[in-house]
Point group: C2
Chain length 362, copies 2
């Protein structure tokens, strides 16, 4: 088992990475001195696979746990679902010292984290991410929230978990499409921060796609360590944390205009990162860098092109302007200078964004 | 104009108290270095009276303000209304540096504050309380939130305003019932913290009910100073801040079982405080203290009795157990030792609570 620490003063917490960690959920929660009651929020895909083991581990450690199951998919990251979770927490008499366990992928983590951030003005929560994407990205760093019709993650809070348990055994049952979507965030860490990780991905991609536990454990822990480092420097995203949004401005826009249904998040930011790589020619990226980035996404089985009508392009620009990263009306991009190094807060003329979209057009 | 400062490190802010302050809204916001866009959230009663003046002051100071109007009344403190506010903020393209002005009573302040706490993971907001209750209580201290069917304020956040503007001229148009309801919180400050304030209220109540600006200015500023002091010591209500809940456990319960429609908050906590005064006989309160407390609420025209059926009593106990102040399943009360001094975290046998309810039964 590997341990990565997120250093945020009295809100610091560990990320545990290893196979079979779900069985340790109860004992690990017991070490945190939380209240006896808790709620496990999960979804209709993950619940049938893992909720029983979570409940057993919590029960054996003396916790009184209930399960709240939401429909699987991005459409559950919505206010009416938040409201139904609140009602169930109230029905089960959760108190201020009670806690929530988010058992599932990024959708469940973001939703359950937002519920935890706001129920009784905030109760503790534990992340048990079961997808690759959630383990390397969304479960770490305390960004929680839900979508509005107008845009992704427009509502939310910063609420750090007390513990993140990354059980590598969860990947065994992860559908191929979701696993590959998670690789989009893994590749991102290489582009923004770590050329050695990028080279390792180029070298070991086949072993990763075969889900070899030894390679995966090292890669997941490395991604978590990069994220923990960035979050420790800039919790509320006023500076370096924005680099984690590489490829996300266009990616979020694509998700918004397709009503969060067509693409998995990792697929949308795969296209977004390839477009951002093209845009990065203005900040020092070379044509061969763009080609390496594109090639790795292609080998990972991720989409790198999109078909957009003229009216969809207009909607995409409107959605990007609603993105949280907008400041003074201007969309700001994270752009790469080289593989392993990025700059943020870059204003880019609309015409250049259109040009990058042409490059990823089908 | 009086100024009271809330000291919370880099989240400190001033409370300004005086007549005609609404006209200073724009210039005061300009001093805070906020973004150009803002939304004034108000309700259907307050909006027609004050929104125009707020917009003019903001506009003259260079801000681009829009007005969002919600129905007047406690029923607007609900998730669907929060959702409609979010949608309007998105439609008006509010960004992270944009801000919200809460223009109205406690309902508007709590609702708008929660919207500000969670939109884009938190944007700045300004409190412009127009009722006595909001000026002396809910606008100060950063507790924001909405109700669930299961209980009052069960969803929320701690999100401090950047500024509180208490315009005493707003009382001119405040309905008599609402003004008197505000006195319930004013009297509370005397009971929990300040025997001199309590005596002043006994002496000057008629002048206060006549809304004499000189007396009111001093009383509002004194209440804000007490609240600022308590909040500065204990922002997140882990200790002394709970004393502000004197009378609120039973009061919130009464509001919950009447579906937040029958009583104004001040009316419910008037009954709650009289019941808490009876319970306080166990912590040192004398029968004459109880009589003084009851008498002052009666003179202020506030209800001190309630008619409850047996089944309503059962519901009231269930609602109290859902209160946020519950810990390890036990309801905790704030009880008075004398006028001007209280203790908190007091467990009280159900039979004694029933006894106190008998005392306030019609």
């Amino acid at each position: 088992m590997r341990t990565v620490r997120v250093s945020l003063g009295d809100r610091s917490y560990p990320i545990l990475v290893g196979p079979g960690l779900l069985a340790r959920l109860g004992p690990e929660c017991a070490r945190l001195g939380l209240g006896r009651r808790c709620a496990v929020i999960t979804d209709s895909q993950v619940g049938p696979r893992f909720a029983k083991a979570a409940l057993e581990s919590l029960g054996a450690a003396g916790f009184d746990a209930v399960v709240i199951t939401v429909p699987a998919g991005e459409t559950s990251k919505a206010l009416p679902v938040v409201g139904r979770c609140y009602d169930q927490l109230a029905a089960h008499r959760l108190e201020r010292k009670s806690f929530i366990v988010a058992l599932g992928g990024g959708v469940v983590g973001d939703l359950a984290g937002f519920v935890a951030a706001t129920y009784l003005r905030g109760i503790p929560f534990i992340q048990v991410p079961t997808t690759l994407l959630a383990q390397v990205d969304s479960s770490v760093g305390g960004k929680v929230g839900v979508n509005l019709k107008a845009g992704k993650n427009l509502v939310g809070a910063f609420h750090q978990p007390r513990l993140v348990l990354c059980d590598l055994a969860a990947f065994g049952s992860l559908p191929e499409r979701e696993f590959r979507a998670g690789l989009a965030e893994v590749i991102k860490y290489g582009i923004i921060h770590d050329p050695a990780l990028f080279r390792r991905l180029e070298r070991d991609l086949d072993r990763i796609l075969a889900r070899e536990e030894s390679v995966l454990g090292a890669v997941v822990a490395r991604c978590c360590a990069i994220k923990a480092d960035v979050v420790g420097q800039d919790e509320t995203e006023s500076g370096v944390r924005t680099t984690l949004n590489f490829g996300h401005t266009i990616g979020h826009g694509l998700e918004a205009i397709s009503a969060y249904g067509r693409y998995l998040h990792g697929e949308a930011i795969s296209i977004g990162q390839v477009a951002a790589a093209h845009l990065s020619l203005r900040t020092g990226f070379s044509a061969s860098d763009v080609a390496r980035v594109r090639e790795l996404f292609v080998r990972a089985g991720l989409p790198v092109t999109v078909r957009l009508t003229a009216s969809q392009r207009i909607k995409l620009f409107a959605a990007m302007r609603l993105d949280k990263k907008v400041s003074d009306g201007a969309v700001r991009f994270v752009l790469a200078q080289r593989i392993g190094g990025v700059v943020w807060g870059q204003q880019v003329p609309d015409a250049d964004v259109q040009g990058a979209l042409d490059k990823v057009a089908e």
